[in-house]
Amino acid sequence: MTRFWQIVIDGFAISALYALGATGFTLIFGVSGVLNLSHGAIMVAAAVAAWAAASLGQHGPYLAAVAGVAVAIALSLLTYGVAVRPVQRNPRIEVAEREIFILTATLLWGIIIQETIAYLFTNNAKTVPPLVDGVITMLGVRTPANEYFTAATCWIVIGLLWLLVNRTRGGKVVLAASMNPRGVTLLGFELSTMYLAVWSVYGLLAGIAGVLLGMFLGVSSYSVGPLTASAFSIVVLGGLGSVTGSLVAAFVVGYLETVTAYMISPAYRTIPPLLLLVAVMYLRPQGLFGRR
């Protein structure tokens, strides 16, 4: 019975973290059709920056976490400025080919960030000091208090994002732009300003997810690829562009991994979600909640 509750609690924390990471990824895709393959690199950069601020800069854990998120926002805007916008605006790249160019550009940009991190801070894993110390024993399961804090923060941030998109004027414009960008420009909204805002929000989400991941499990420059891959498969599993789909898929993947790790072996935890992804691709190519 203890094992059951262990799976429930551990799986919940990791799933919430996946959900937060994937939400930003799907937001960018929904609004601007961009699959940002430097996603993992931005998350890792946030965590490593928070670690560096705490460990090398001798700052407190809160300031360090804020520094990590700030780095992620800056990097996110830089990604848009360096890897996405120039491709979108380049008249020599055909419209039909832009998506593949952006995929390549963001992938390479992610590798540049990854190698820079490894060069500056080595490829050894780093961990961010937790904001909450100690352990909580609930239902016979001893869990670090910071794990509950992580899950709670993820849900609060996702909730705030929902409010922002559905309950504010700016959010409604973003929602409208994801359905019909031309219509939004005709109504007098500047798309480029909106993209900047969306990339900032994305940076904020990826930054929070990265710093929390750094506290929970730790990251190294090796984590870049797997993080991008997990966000990508969650978003594809849930249906590209569907936020609800991403949230559900994050929990499916998180629990599938946790159950595998406990019941079979931690060495195989990433395999069942990938098999599920292949199965979904065959049976329901639009994903669990996809519209197309």
Binding site: W51, T127, S265
Partner: protein, 378 residues
């Protein structure tokens, strides 16, 4: 010199080699000729290391190669040392297969020297230390082995399964995990459910993550054994202090005068590079010295003469007295261990410092555990 300069351990290799070369050159070099170090980064990849090795031999005309702390890389380079008839010494790889290959076909593979412990020799040292420290002082009787799945841990685990029971520790379980593992919660929960007195570690590719999660989850079982990343001075910072109480076995440690050369080396390294060397720094530094000594004794840089001279090495370095096992031994060209040659140390992270807790003649502190660790009550 071929190293993994982005990895914390590997990054100690180039500066240590450089330091030894500068010291030797300042004293006139080898018979009047200067030592030049050509450094390559293999990015922890065997194919890149092989290309670097070929280039080092054919373009840079090096006389000997000091290569890598990764067994996977050294095993890939070994056939090239044979084909190109170039002496290669590894400062940190541990797989037993390296010396077994030499034993199998000595004439072909005699150009490889194992400048660090083989995994089975390492396991022997750990068992011996465990017998005295955890069994002797703390009356522990049961253990779970926790090793990453890599080339070097296979012989390590085989040796553990034999020598831990002999040292007084019953092995309750034997967990091998993928080096990609990031979440160790299930691993620690599984170990805890078996209630061992101690976790015997065999980790090198990972280190920071299991250590931090051990502390955050307050796993009440001490960790003891091999933890390569814990040998680095930066380990405390990388784990934000979660390293407190981690016990590991090594040949050298900061502040431990294993030989009269150890502390001056650490001081010189620190002055030049701003940090203390990882374990491979010590062995690399020694290797440059005994290679220079062998070239001097051979009176030549000819590879075959150099092999004969290296086999006669009797050199007191920073890690102890260095002698190679002779032809006929199953671990030919491995280091001799035991009293009078190389003996292990048990180190423990305490309050941001690596403290030596065993054996008595080197100890500068006592074993202490963080409050969440529960010791067997007898």
């Amino acid at each position: 010199m071929i190293a993994e300069t982005q990895a914390v351990a590997g990054s100690s290799i180039p500066p240590a080699a450089q330091l030894a070369a500068e010291e030797i050159n300042a004293k006139g070099g080898v018979d009047g000729r200067k030592i030049e170090i050509v450094a390559y980064d293999d990015h922890s990849s065997a194919p890149e290391a092989v290309r670097a090795f070929q280039r080092a031999v054919s373009e840079d005309k090096v006389n000997a190669v000091i290569a890598s702390y990764l067994s996977e890389v050294v095993l890939a380079l070994q056939p090239w040392a044979a084909r190109l008839k170039t002496v290669m010494v590894t400062p940190g790889a541990t797989s037993d297969v390296i010396t077994q290959t030499i034993a199998k076909d000595y004439e072909t593979n005699k150009y490889t020297f194992h400048g660090y412990l083989t995994s089975s020799a390492m396991a022997q040292l750990i068992c011996e230390a465990a017998g005295q420290v955890v069994v002797g002082s703390y009356k522990m009787t049961t253990a779970v082995m926790l090793s990453e799945d890599a080339a070097w841990t296979k012989p390590l685990d085989e040796a553990f399964l034999k020598c831990l029971p002999a040292a007084g520790l019953k092995v309750l379980d034997h967990i091998r995990f993928s080096p990609d593992t990031t979440d160790f919660t299930p691993v620690f929960n599984k170990i805890e459910s078996q209630n061992p007195h101690v976790i015997i570690t065999g980790i090198s590719h990972v280190g920071v993550q299991p250590t931090v999660q051990w502390t955050h989850q307050q796993v009440p079982i001490p960790m003891f054994g091999r933890s390569s990343q814990a040998t680095n001075s930066s380990f405390w910072q990388e784990t934000n202090g979660a390293a407190e109480g981690v016990l590991y076995v090594d040949l050298s440690g900061p502040g431990v005068a294993v030989t009269p050369k150890t502390l001056p080396f650490v001081a010189a390294f620190q002055k030049k590079n701003g940090n203390v060397p990882a374990y491979v720094g010590f062995t690399t530094y020694d290797e440059v010295y005994y290679l220079a000594d062998a070239i001097h004794r051979a009176g030549s840089t000819d590879s075959d003469k150099l092999v004969t001279a290296l086999e006669a090495t009797d050199y007191v370095g920073t890690i102890g007295r260095i002698q190679f096992l002779p032809q006929g031994d199953p671990h030919v060209h491995g280091l001799k261990t035991g009293n009078g040659t190389i003996t292990g140390l048990v180190m423990q992270w305490q309050g941001g410092k690596q403290v030596c807790v065993w054996p008595k003649q080197y100890a500068n502190g006592k074993v202490s555990f963080p409050p969440f660790v529960k010791l067997p009550s007898h």
